[in-house]
């Protein structure tokens, strides 16, 4: 039981970010910038907690920072139709540089040992973990069982039909980005405030990209995305179990399996693996 909870805890940042990215991609936007968004959430979450002493404030600041970065991306990617990959890359670099520099300036180049109050947990369960699981169910409901979800999915498949039905594709995509930014920021803040109780340089270590990979592996379905993240967490944990038992196995190849599987899924081995048809395609209203 506690082992399962540990898997869930370590997977929670990934789950949050991946579920947000699922919504973003379903609306037709690929947001590469969630790597940087998570990192910024982690850093500013810690800073806010240091200032106020409350990890809850830290989590909230993480959410806000994530939304701010997402809206910044939106201005370029949606407003100006700049390529979404370029925007995301810029956001990642910006966040990486900003957090590193501020961290070094505040705590020295080496980074003194930093410790902040963690999010309180009960029997290994905390609020954010519960939220992550609940979010899988609620995003599924939101996407497939509500009016907004229907409109949002149509914007990711065929934006002309969305507009014909009387919705603004632009508003939908901004809203999706804000949601994805909020969850990525929260995921990042949880990484520093829920798991580590500290901040370290580049502590997300590719989790944002991993989240994008998990969205693909989970075929853009919130339940499967959650499953994919937990599977990855389990495989990751297995590595240490085996090492502890002294079993000699080429673990890295084992760890590469989910990504290869995702590639195979995408290559059409399984049907129904379609990415949203309008993914990464800017939409401009014709007049």
């Amino acid at each position: 039981m506690s082992a399962l909870l540990a898997i869930l805890m370590y997977a929670t940042p990934l789950v949050l970010a991946a579920l947000g990215e699922t919504v973003v991609q379903k609306a037709g936007v690929i947001h590469i910038g969630i790597e940087g968004t998570m990192l910024a959430g982690a850093f500013f979450g810690v800073m806010a907690t240091l200032a106020t002493g409350s990890p809850w404030v830290g989590l909230g600041v993480g959410v806000l920072v994530g939304m701010a970065l997402a809206l910044l991306s939106g201005v370029f990617a949606l407003g100006l139709s700049v390529d979404q990959v370029v925007v995301g890359t810029a956001v990642n670099l910006f966040a990486l540089g900003l957090t590193r520099t501020l961290f070094a300036m505040r705590f020295g180049a080496s980074g003194e040992l930093l410790s902040v109050p963690k999010v309180p947990s009960w029997q290994g369960i905390d609020v954010v973990m519960v939220l992550a699981v609940a979010l899988a169910a609620s995003t599924h409901w939101l996407l497939f069982r509500t009016s907004w979800g229907l409109a949002l999915r149509s914007a990711g498949e065929m934006p002309q039909a969305t507009e014909a039905a009387g919705f603004s594709v632009s508003v939908i995509r901004y809203a999706a980005l804000a949601f994805g930014g909020a969850t990525a920021g929260l995921g990042g803040a949880y990484l520093s405030l829920g798991i580590a109780g500290s901040f370290a340089d580049n502590m997300t270590a590719g989790r944002g990209f991993l989240a994008i990979a998990m969205v693909t592996f989970g075929r853009w379905k919130p339940g499967l995305v959650l499953g994919a993240c937990l599977l990855l967490g389990w495989l990751d944990g297995l590595q240490f179990t085996f090492q502890a038992k002294g079993v000699e196995l080429p673990f890295q190849l084992f760890l590469a399996l989910p990504y290869m599987a995702a590639l195979l899924v995408l290559a059409g081995v399984g049907r129904g693996a379609h990415a949203p048809a309008a993914l990464a395609v800017p939409f401009r209203r014709s007049r």
């Binding site: 069982r145 009016s147 229907l150 149509s154 065929m158 002309q160 039909a161 039905a165």
Partner: protein, 483 residues
Amino acid sequence: MHPLIAVRGLSKRFGPVQALRNVSVAFEAGEIHAILGENGAGKSTLANVLAGFLLPDAGRIEFEGATVPLGDPLAIRARGVAMVHQHFMLVPEFTVAENLALAQIPRGFAALDPLERASPSLEMAERLGWSLDPSARTGDLPVGVQQRIEILKALGEKRRLLILDEPTAVLGGEEVEELFRVLRDLRDKGLAILLIAHKLREVMAVADRATVLRRGEVVATALVADLDEATLAEWMVGDVPAPPVRTKGSAPTAFEGLRLVGLHVAGDRGEPAVVDLSLDVPKGGIVGIGGVDGNGQVELAEAIVGIRPWTGEVSWVPQGVPQVAYVPQSRQRDGLALKMSVLDNLAIEGHQRPDLRLGPLLRLREMARWGGELVARYAIKVGSIDDPVGSLSGGNQQKVVVARELDRKPDLIVAVNPTRGLDVRAARFVHDQLSQARDRGAAVLLVSTDLDELVALADQAYFLLGGRLRVADGAEAMVGGAA
């Protein structure tokens, strides 16, 4: 008593083209009213203005006598006007129920079961005698069924006027009959139906009243019962002579040129786009292919130039491989790389010329000189040859394509709607170039939806309907009447 909806004095201009000129028409409830005209006559523009998708330059719309705000699709929809587009606004990945639900979802946030939301539409489908599987993936359904979904989307609750833009263009014979049955049914229930059409036979079969447009102007409005096909055809095309089915005066010589025998071509979705087509395009002749967009013209052209797979026989008689020039239908989509320079766009041809290459390298200086010559010879208006081609006017963009393609000294020219969207002078330029190429001995296949263009240029004319070739031997046939 006011008509249900009426347009008064509408005018609309697109660049050099006057799409509508002082158009007034009234539509009555319980009537199928056909708007008839050739391609480019202004039918779709009228429909789009009426549905609020386009803002006219002048004129107004009245609904039961009261003026309606223009260019506001929601305001017009609120009055019960809905339009079925020729290109479906359906999400292929969605189920039938989801597509139906999308058309009727409330503005705000609400929990929603697509099936439940779609159920009025599904009931409507049942009343109309259509069986629909609400859980089927829309993209997997035949085009005719997709159109039914589109019509159901438009029908909604309090519909007063239903606009259908060329609904039969994509349908087979039986599907057309089925559609007409439903349209009559809806009319009898009191709906006004605006049917945009170009086929006389269909108008005669289903419409109660017809308005004919030509070059953006209303020629006449009349009850169909008082009309015959010949009168309608004359209204549509004016006094153009029948296109010459002319063979050149000299004694029959052995055929030389492009020969197609039993050609089959599949469309993008794998549907048969061109069916068992046989055609000779002689050297020194222009063969015209008319007909409405979407009847296999583009697929035919792409198959001939070799960028779309086909089965059957395509051969150059007597032998050899012809040098082919291709003027695609959409210059911006298929003809040009808009961000690249004028020279680069010319170089799409130029970089293949042996005299502009040196071993593995391009001779850039020679290429610039060659490009400059083309720009001068074809009188392309550019600031600098290094400007992006996207900064040129439409006519000059098309000149870039034509210059590049004709510079190949082609044996065979395939041109699809080469003057669409051009002003008169630019269009005449393109026509002259094609005639000159013909006179030099090239075989020319001119695919055009513009009847005047075919009449002016073609030595022989056919038209394509549902991927099959039909002989055009008079104005009626050209607009799809008698055949």
